[in-house]
């Protein structure tokens, strides 16, 4: 969509005035965005987040290799990661360890 907005800006700069029917309003795109039908993400051969209790994902380059990883917390406070690669795929979920070598785990009742 940003590309479209950039195109629109270029056209305005060139003196072209779009009619309301030919250009969607940015406001509409922000508050009523269009999404493709949801797809499940894979982690290696498995579906990402399977078996987790209330999987809470965040996209973040955890290992600093320039590729986005999916870090997942859950109800029990346990943190795992599926490392992304250059192809945009994710490896199998693995535990995130703290500096003492224990799984990163946030206290829950």
């Amino acid at each position: 969509m940003k590309n479209l907005k950039r195109c629109g800006l270029t056209l305005v700069m060139l003196g072209y005035v779009a009619s309301p029917s030919s250009m969607s309003s940015p406001h509409e795109d922000v508050k009523a965005p269009k999404f493709a039908a949801p797809k499940r993400l894979m982690a290696g051969e498995k579906l990402l987040g399977t078996g987790r209790a209330y999987a809470s994902p965040v996209l973040h380059d955890l290992n600093g290799d320039g590729h986005k990883d999916v870090v997942i917390g859950d109800l029990f406070g346990r943190i795992t990661v599926a490392y992304g690669d250059a192809s945009g795929k994710y490896g199998a979920e693995e535990k995130v360890m703290d500096r003492n070598g224990d799984q990163l785990e946030f206290s829950n009742w």
Binding site: M1, K2, N3, P26, V30, K31, P33, K34, F35, A36, A37, P38, K39, R40, L41, L47, L48, G49, T50, G51, R52, A53, Y54, A55, S56, P57, V58, L59, H60, K68, V70, V71, I72, G73, D74, L75, G77, I79, G88, V96, M97, D98, R99, N100, D102, L104, E105, F106, S107, N108, W109
Partner: protein, 336 residues
């Protein structure tokens, strides 16, 4: 639990901030050597930060306190998510606390510095338009992101609905656009981004319950997609059964009823033996523990055998007559 990577203490390393169902935010500090074991965030007086409801680890029970609320009154609102956010743009992080119940968000100001935080311990309701920020059902977690690309941070949040239901409405994802400016946020009315839909279907089609969103540019095309964790709820289509299979369904249904009665009898016998063996003993004593272990060892085999039989019968029955299913996945909503 929500999740945020943020350099909370301004030491040049990203930290991992979260909050759990114990009612308080926790943080794992990043360093060259990796993340520290998580610790609880405390206010300037050394008290644990919270909204009102919390799990008291010492008393081993859920409790409520009004000490952080403006009116001093406790209420049934539990902090299960936390975000670092420099609300007043003074260079240090303040805290946003997300409530499970009602989906309220509270602001707690940092009156210290970026390296020595001093949180007030007092919660200020965050508004969305003219009303306190709130969601139609319980909130999973809010996230901060510049959704409308105007240079300030907007709020996106998900809802639970009832995570164990297989009918009715599911959870959704909501947006509140920041109509203020950096240093003076003013969040607008809450609007739907992903509308809740009726549960059902014969296969997983979307996250239905407990939607944990993360707005991010997943495919690198310059716009924000949504990564959403959540449970899907569906019931596989039943297939047509042969006459023999229908008879087997009847047999298995009856067998499971009998096994359930036998399992209840086994548990009753276990309880009675345990009561007799430990009568008059202090439940903290070694003798109590030893006798309990003996009773448990005596009954464990039978209970396990029963559990295996029931599982096998149930699995066979589920193959013939599918039951509602509920499984957790992580989904991508790609922005078009």
């Amino acid at each position: 639990m929500g999740s945020q990577f943020v350099d909370f203490n301004a030491d040049g390393h990203l930290d991992y901030l979260s909050a759990t169902f114990d009612g308080s935010p926790h943080i794992s500090y990043g360093s060259k050597e990796g993340f520290s074991p998580p610790e609880r965030l405390k206010d300037a007086d050394g008290q644990r930060i919270l909204i009102s409801s919390f799990w008291n680890y010492e008393d081993k029970e859920h409790q409520k306190t009004g000490r952080s609320m403006a009116d001093g009154k406790p209420r049934g609102e539990r902090c299960i998510s936390a975000l670092a956010f420099d609300w007043d743009d003074d260079g240090d992080y303040d805290l946003l606390l997300g409530s499970y119940e009602k989906g309220h968000i509270y602001l707690q100001m940092n009156e210290g510095t970026k390296t020595d935080a001093k949180f007030t311990g007092k919660n200020i309701p965050v508004m969305a338009g003219e009303k306190p920020f709130g969601l139609p059902s319980k909130m999973t977690t809010p996230k901060l992101v510049d959704w409308d690309s105007d240079g300030d941070l907007d709020l996106i949040a998900g809802t639970f609905s009832d995570a164990y239901q297989s009918e009715g409405q599911g959870g959704g994802v909501y947006l509140s656009v920041n109509e203020g400016e950096v240093g003076a946020p003013k969040f607008g009315p809450v609007e739907e981004l992903i509308a809740p839909v009726s549960l059902g279907g014969t296969e997983p089609q979307r996250p239905d319950l407990g939607l944990y969103p993360d707005p991010a540019d997943h495919d690198g095309d310059g716009d924000l997609d949504l990564i959403v964790g959540g449970y899907s709820s569906w019931t596989p289509s039943p297939r047509e059964l042969s006459g023999l299979e229908e008879l087997r369904v009847e047999e298995l249904t009856n067998e499971l009823e009998v096994l359930e009665e036998e399992q209840t009898a086994l548990y009753d016998a276990f309880s009675a033996d345990l009561e007799e063996a430990t009568a008059g003993l202090d439940s903290e004593s070694e003798e109590y523990e030893e006798r309990s272990d003996e009773v448990r060892d005596k009954h464990l085999g039978g209970l396990r055998e029963m559990s295996d039989k029931m599982r096998a019968a149930q699995e066979e029955l589920d193959e013939l007559v599918p039951k509602p299913k509920r499984k957790s996945f992580v989904w991508l909503y790609e922005r078009l």
